[in-house]
Each structure stands twice: as C-alpha cells, then as structure tokens.
Amino acid sequence: MNVENGIHDAHYFVPQPSRWPITGSIALFCMTCGTALWINNMQAGKWLLLVGFVILIHMLIGWFGDVITESQHGDYGQQVDHSFRWGMSWFIFSEVMFFAAFFGALFYTRTISVPELGWFSDTHDVLWPTFKATWPGVSGPKVAPYAPMEAFGIPAINTALLLSSGITVTWAHWGFVKNNRTQMALGLALTIGLGAIFLVLQALEYHHAYTAMHLTLASGAYGMTFFMLTGFHGMHVLVGAIMLSVMLGRVLKGHFTPEHHFGFEAAAWYWHFVDVVWLGLFVFVYCL
C-alpha cells in the first residue's frame, strides 16, 4: 500500500492526550478481576464484572466517538488513512490466528488424541470400557450421551445467510463508491438484518442442542470444539453487526464521501473475515 518513498501527509495527525485508554484499562481490569472472582464462587465478582462492562461500553462509545469526530473534522489525511488500512489488516490477521488456535485444537483432537485413545488397548481394558473413539459421538467417562449436530438444517441456512450478507455488503460498498445513499443504507440494513437472523438461528440451534440433543460444552471433545468454535464465531458476528450498525447510523447522518469511507470498509473487511471463518466452520465442524 505504500509506495517506496512513502506517502506523507503535510501534517500527520497525532491525537490529543486522551482519557479513553486508561478508562479501557480500568474496565478490563474490573472485568477480568471480577470474572476470576466470580468463577471461583466469590459472588461480588459478578458486580465487578458488570461495572467493568459498563465502563468498557462507555469507553468504546467515547473513543470511537472521538475518532468519528476527528474524521469528520478532516484531521485524517491520506497517510493516516493508510495507517488505518494497515492497522485493520493486521488486526484481522491476529483474529485469524486466534481462530487458528481453536481450529488447530479441533484438528489435533480429531486426528490424534481421539484415535490414539481408541487404539490404546488399555483405554478399554483398564480405564473406560465404554469409551467410544468415533467422530462425532466421541464419549468418555465424564461425558453424558448426546446427539451430534446435523449440517443440513439451521447450519446450511446460516451458511446461505452469511454468504448473501457478503453480497449485500458489497452492494452497499458500490453505493459508497457511487455516493448513492439509498443503496448504502439499504445494503447495510440488509446485511445487518441477515446477520441478526443468523444470530437468532444460532441461538435457536444452541437451545435445541442443550435441551433436545443434550449436546453441551461438556460433551467431550466434540461438544467443546463445536461450542468454542461456533461460539467465538457468533461473538464475532455480533461485533461485526454492531460495527455495521454504527456505519448505518453514520450513513444516515451523511458522514461518508466516495473518497473517504474507510470506517465502512474496515467493517466490511471484518464482515468478510467473519464470513470466511464461517465457511471453515461449516466444512470442518458441521460437514466433515
């Protein structure tokens, strides 16, 4: 993105001293400390977590509000724009690596730890006569019976939803380039709507899994990889939908120009990333 000699704004924007970062640190300290206490049965912890969460929301609104104000004020030149592009790209790369850890855990568990437990004769003879080293359906002494998730119900519909939302967000982007505000707003609204339906369906899927199928986070190697991967993905869909909603609000306020709308593009990049992760999930968690 950078030419060899660099792009230089006449004056690279360096923000004023800000109270948001320290606010965020206090929020995260309260949240982590509160969670650590809460999960160890110290009930005061959940209030600390709640306080931290409220502070975090306050910080996010304030910080991003400052960024939007600065952007509208015209503080961000071309070089700053490129910084944002690099920054968002590397952030998404870090997210890819986060999911890689859990995909790695899935592949390792499926191809190494579960089969090895099955081959190992002592597993059945000495330890756990009922251990089943099959996938899905792996079960051990600590795992209650459960039914694995089918790919061609809600998951297939969700795949179609997310793929369509990739198209609508691109259509919205064309609206930005053409400066067609109706198309921008409609495209964004459709994308957010598809994301919301996705989340509702996923919530129904989880509810069905927990109640009817007895598939829970504690359902052994299958349940843990299923819920951790799809759960973290669902959280990312939620974050992406919130980002797009903010962009929709900004469109309605008339914030963007055909040349200057990286805020939207960053959200769209993130949305596509979430989309691609889902495809990996659909193939490796649901289908195979």
Partner: protein, 553 residues
Amino acid sequence: MTTATETLHPHDAAHDEHASHGGGHHGATHSGWRRWVYATNHKDIGTMYLWFAFSMFLLGGTFALCIRAELFQPGLQFWQPEFFNQLTTLHGVIMVFGAIMPAFTGLMNWQLPLMIGAPDMAFARMNNWSFWLLPPAALLLIISLFMPGGGPGAGWTFYPPLSVQLGPGMDFGIFAIHLMGLSSIMGSINIVTTILNMRAPGMTLLKMPLFAWTSLVTAYLLIAVAPVLAGAVTMLLTDRHFGTHFFNAAGGGDPILFQHVFWFFGHPEVYIMALPAFGVVSQILPTFSRKPLFGYVSMVYAVCAIAILSFMVWGHHMFAVGFPATAQLFYMFMTMLIAVPTGVKVFNWIATMWQGSMTFETPMLFAIGFLCLFTIGGFSGLVLSLAPVDIALHGTYYVVAHFHYVLVAGALFSLFGAAYYWLPKWTGYMYNERMGKIHFWWSMISFNITFFPMHFLGLAGMPRRIPDYALQFTTFNEIASVGAFLFGFAQIFFLYNVIHTIRGGVGPAPAKPWDGAHTLEWEVDSPAPHHTWETPPDEALVRRGLVAQGLEH
C-alpha cells in the same frame, strides 16, 4: 528515563522545518500525572514502558533471588515446595511478559519514530492503551499470590493437568496473560504500521536501520502468536471452569494438545525476545567500530529466515513428551537449520568489528558481551536441538543454563547496551562511563558465576523446578547462588547511573555523542524535544545518513 528539564513545548529539531501547522494538535500536553496517564506522545509512553519494565525486572529478580536463596543448600530452608513453584512461575512470567518484552517495546516506542523520521507512532492513542494494560496485568499477577492456594504454580508454560487443578490464583494468571496479549497485539500493530507507513522520504525498506527491521519482524511474530497464546489459556480457563475437556483424556482431549498450542506461541516468543536484541546490537557495533554494518542485506534476510523457521520448530520443546521418530527428525533438523541464519548474523557482527576503529564505551561492552554469551547460549541450544540428547537433558539445569544465556546475556545485556547508547538522547546528559563499565564487568562476571555452573549441574543430572536436591549438587548450587546475588547487586549501579544521568550526569550531551552513529535519531537535539519530525526529515538529510551507513552511494 526522561528529564525534568525536558521542554513541554513543541520544539523542532535543528533540521526540522518550522512549518506552521493547522489544527494545533501537537504540543498539547498535560502536566502532572495526566501527562503520563493520558499520554499520546511516543517518548512519554516509551519512558513509561522502560520504567515499568525495569521495576518488573527488579520484582522478577527478587523472585529469582528467593529461588537462589532456597537452592543455596539442599533441604528446605525458606519456602515450601508449593510456594517455590509459584516463585519460579512468577519469575518466568514477569521476566518474559513484564520485563523483557515491555523493555523492547519501550525502546521501539522511543526510537522507531526518531530513527525512521516519523512524528509519532501511527496510532498514538492506542499506543497509550498498549502500555496501560500492563500495570493491571501485573496487578492481577500480584493479586494471584494472595488468593487461596497462592499464585499460579504451574511454571510459566502453564502445562495441564497441573494448571487445570490449581486454585483461583491460576485464573488471575490466565487473565493477566489475556491482558498482556492484548497489549502485545495492539503494540505490535502499531509498530508494524509505523514502520510500513511512516518512514522518511528516501528510506526504503532495505535502507531502514536494522533495529527497525528487527522491530518489524518481531511485531509481525507477536501479532501471529499472541492470539494463539490467548486461545491456549482460554482453553485452560474453560477446562477449569466450564466443563470442556480440551486437555482431559476422559472426554477425548489430551494434555499434550496444550503443549503444542503453547509452544506454537512459545517458540516464536523466544525470537520475539531475541530479534530486537539483534537489532540493538546491529546499531551499536557499527557505531563503535566506526564502520558500516557488514552484510546489511544478509542481516535482513537472516532475521526473516529466523522468523519463518521459528514457526516450524515448536516440537523441540516437547522431545521428552514422546514423538514419532519422523516428528523428532523434522523438529530436530528444522531447529538445527536456525543455526544457519543465526551464524550469518554472528559472523556479520564479527566482520563489522574487523579492522574497525573500535572503542569500548559501555554500550559497546554490552554489545560484545552479548555477542560472546549469546553465542554460547546458541551453541548450548544446538546441543539441545539433538533429540536424543534433549531427552536426557530436557528436565535438567542444562536447559536453565541455556535459556538464561540467551535471555539474560542475550536480551537483557542488549537492553542495557541500548539504555546506555540512547540515554544521552533521552536525557540530554552523558552517563557516568566509569560506573557503566563497572556495571558491565560486574554483570558479566557474576552472570557467568551464576549460570555457567548450571551447565555442569544439568549434565550431572540435576532436575530443574525443584526446591531441594541431592547432596552432590551442593557446591555448584552454592556458587550459582552467590553469583545470582552478585548479579542482582550489580543492577544497583545501573539504577544509580540512570538516575544520576537524568539529574545531569557528567554533563550535557551533544546531539550526536557517538561519532560513528549515522541514524536519524542523532540528527535531533539531546534531549530529544517532546515532538520530533513533525514534518518528515529532508530527503537530503536522510540520504546523507544512508551514505554514511553504506546503504547508498
């Protein structure tokens, strides 16, 4: 490490044009505590990083001395074994995540904008958050010690099943890792973006100071692996509290999975702590040899090669776990392959000094000390890369000796060298050279007294991570403990020297106190004004430095 006399007003360097900037966003700085807590200035944030790292170094060092006091004699003297485990764990976690990494990030914060001619870091506000996540993380670690059952005691590697079974302190350790990982990711995104997007005109990638290159590659590694560590400790957390079985065979999981995920992070992490040291030494050696860095381009490629290889060698931390022979061979050969680019670097550094007009100021002494001792650490690493040898040595003090040669004599010595090298720029005063030399020699000798005997202890079979040991290991342990306390004491010279320098040192420093230095940070005043390079440096100025560094003709 800043000075009371430092001006708080925008004050451009001599070579910087005084253009009138619209907006007036620069120069607004709070005084008092707000200056530090709300800081968006890379120099203020760098200063905070460096002081934080140094205080964590003292804290981690105190834990180390508690360990060495216990090991002075066989039998239990001071601590119960459980607390000893917490000491080794917190020593490791605090030194790695609290001292070495923040110290390098502090250096990068201070130096990168100065060296590449940028007005600040690319994301100045996020830079503040990267720093200010570290004190809460440190606080979580300290709180963990006061939880029922004490702090995390599973080693800095947090291996299950022990880490799954420990008390609430472990959860605080996990969340501390999360916060430090968040800080690392944001800090690294900032560093990568700054280097890729904010270089001075004419400074192409292959004309950057080598410190910028190693910072770039280090930050890239950190963005790649910090999220993996976050994933690993998240799985620990869910195994501990939410019923998953990632590391429990009773549900189809496997404790060894944790080791794979952890060391996928852990091995690049080793280079995250080593590469910036390479960068520092690559700045110091040419300066005091008064010669351009030998083989600049091969140095860059060596750094990149080491970074890429570092993703493919994590299994060498797990030879003792039991691997198929093919996996052992793969990891063994890949590990040995790293010796090639590392050798390129060592030979290049030696060739840089060859026939140079060398002088031996304190930074140069630390750089040469680094070179000698890091090479020893590299060789013992090569010994450990041999799977059959490693199986015998892995659980012994030989490994402790190896990684302290790499991390103390490697990373830490380079940090001391960097501090002395740039103190005149940071404070505007010269440090006390004599005391700096005493610090170096005292550290150099006591370091070897501490850690060299550990090779013998390990080869003789002394297990690591134990508070008690068999009688025959006593003598070498006593020597190591005496050395450790001497090494700890040596750091008082450093602290005194730094404070003395801030308060005026042995006199004001010129803009360029080292006649062999040609990078851009020496073109601004000493102390560096609060804001530098608000407009990019003049292309002719950049070119002059590049010619002097042998990067342009």
